[in-house]
Symmetry: C2
Subunit: 303 residues, 2 copies
């Protein structure tokens, strides 16, 4: 059997980020004050969240984006968190506001994500963006980063999407549901499966494209993969591994070694969707800053 | 073969509407001024739109709902239409505002449907409701009427939805997409097919539940239906029929006679989803009026 071509998110993300960095530099030569700026709010100190925040900070800086992190205590009140967001909403020097999820249980996540103004919602999670994405001809201001990263990887494979059968495993608001909407908008036939679904192996066997966003290590078996299918593995799972210094190892939601023998293209974990998520965030902050600049120069022309 | 049980929308809709009418009367005995009120705006005079508006008007009145129709000329400007909507948005005596679709080409339908305040959007089409419906734990203020009617018919069948495979044919913003979201929220595995899909017969053959919203007479063949499946036919199509006085006959998107031999439950056309759409509208107007009343009595208590 031919092994799948590996769709490297690391390489593609690097290209996207350096293109963004170049575009920002070009713009700065035109408009000296131009400096895309992102503020990340992290509540509490979950180690995984801290790791994500570190990566976002690093990638932003490398792309010539100003990035600040506001770290709030685990027991911060919802009101205080909202105060921070409102201040950032009003600050014209801030273009993107990102609330690192998950939030502690006492805070209403839906309320908080909806309190970021749509023009700065670089995560794409607020009601405006979600509603627009759900529609056929909708015009979201930002695409959510992880699903958008999945779509870029599919694009990179060069595989024609129209009319293909895509199976999305998982229906979360941040991955499964929006990626299903994007695949439908790209003219795929889309099946969404989740923890209540029966016959998942059989459904996956019919898929030309598989997007796994389950959060269970090696959930999708290689033998489920239709020969020639494209496999996008969103999962990020840590499993015990005594051969590693850290005692653990990162694996996806797909049994990589066996799936690789069946698929035409497959994303690795790590180095697949993960880095793409960050690259799409950089893209969104750049976009937000460009829009803000355009708005300001329109205002300047009027007044 | 056993023939399917017919899921009568006419009967169920009658029950829902009379329950709503009774509840409104009860409330009026408590609060004499209580009178749910709907305003429908019709632009132009398409005969199908006029027929729908007539039905909505009649059903509202029968359910003890005040209903007015504002009829605007085909060439009304977008600005004038918006002025009407804004006035209705501000009028506390109006609880529901419905823009009869489709609108003429020179008017931006998305802009118009989004201009109705969410609290009066009894069609459930604005961005707030669409965004909330798209989410897992979303809280739409109103469910869109036709998809909600489909779900009520499924409920009426008594068939357990969790884990079942539902195939939705069509991905429009008013039927296919929202019904797919509702089925997913009801824990179905959901496949969405559309005009770019290949292998539709095969996909339908795997379905425990089929929702057809295609707009093509007899599109779904009886031989595609898995024995025992539940079939919801949303289609409203007129086909030539010289045996009828009008010269035409109403048919659905499903080849009814053959599908009936395979399905466990099937909705007829006419008399299936159509009347349910109207009943769900009545429900939404009642809901809007109850919410408005509650808001007013809360305000009265505060001041
Ligand atoms: N690469 C990246 O940048 C990112 C990676 N991730 C990773 O992606 C994965 C998914 O994330 P997220 O969507 O947030 O996770 P959630 O836990 O929110 O959602 C998981 C989904 O998988 C479904 N599921 C769980 N168990 C099963 C099962 N046994 N069979 C079928 N479906 C199942 C759930 O179903 P139900 O709805 O019924 O509960 C749910 O819809 C995680 O590993 C996460 O770490 C997430 C975000 C970004
Ligand atoms: N009972 C009721 O109260 C109501 C009934 N209806 C009826 O429901 C039907 C659908 O309405 P609506 O959703 O507004 O219609 P639209 O025309 O907006 O959408 C039709 C959908 O069907 C898909 N489609 C068209 N042709 C094919 C094909 N050959 N194979 C597969 N899919 C196809 C289209 O695909 P694509 O997206 O690729 O174009 C589209 O997604 C109509 O008959 C309408 O009259 C509608 C509203 C209320």
């Amino acid at each position: 059997a031919l092994a799948a071509e590996v769709l490297s998110g690391t390489n593609l993300a690097k290209r996207i980020r350096s293109t963004a960095a170049d575009a920002i530099t070009v713009k700065q030569n035109e408009v000296p004050g131009f400096k895309p700026s992102l503020v990340i709010i992290q509540v509490g100190s979950r180690p995984d969240s801290s790791a994500y925040v570190r990566m976002k900070l690093k990638a932003s800086k490398e792309s010539n984006i100003h990035c600040e992190v506001i770290r709030l205590a685990e027991d911060v009140s919802e009101r205080e968190l909202l105060n921070h967001i409102e201040k950032l909403n009003d600050d014209t020097n801030v273009h993107g506001v990102l609330i690192q999820l998950p939030l502690p249980k006492h805070i209403d996540e839906v309320k908080i994500t909806n309190s970021v103004v749509s023009a700065k919602d670089v995560d794409g999670f607020d009601r405006y963006n979600t509603g627009e994405l759900a529609k056929r001809g909708g015009q979201p201001l930002f695409l959510p980063c992880t699903p958008h990263g999945c779509m870029k990887l599919l694009e990179e494979s060069g595989v024609e999407l129209s009319g293909k059968h895509a199976v999305v495993i998982g229906r979360s608001d941040i991955v499964g549901t929006p990626v299903a909407a994007m695949l439908r908008n790209a003219d795929c036939t889309v099946t969404i499966v989740h923890s209540r679904s029966t016959n998942i192996p059989e459904i996956v066997r019919g898929a030309d494209i598989v997007v796994a966003a389950v959060g269970r290590p090696n959930f999708v078996k290689g033998e489920w993969i239709k020969p020639g299918a494209v496999v996008i593995d969103v999962g990020i799972n840590y499993v015990a591994d005594s051969t590693k210094k850290s005692g653990q190892r990162l694996v996806g939601d797909v049994e990589y070694e066996t799936a690789k023998e069946k698929a035409s293209f497959i994303t690795p974990v790590p180095g697949g969707v993960g880095p793409m998520t960050i690259a799409m965030l950089v893209e969104n902050v750049k976009l937000a800053a460009e829009r803000q600049l355009q708005k300001e120069s329109q205002l300047a022309r009027i007044t």
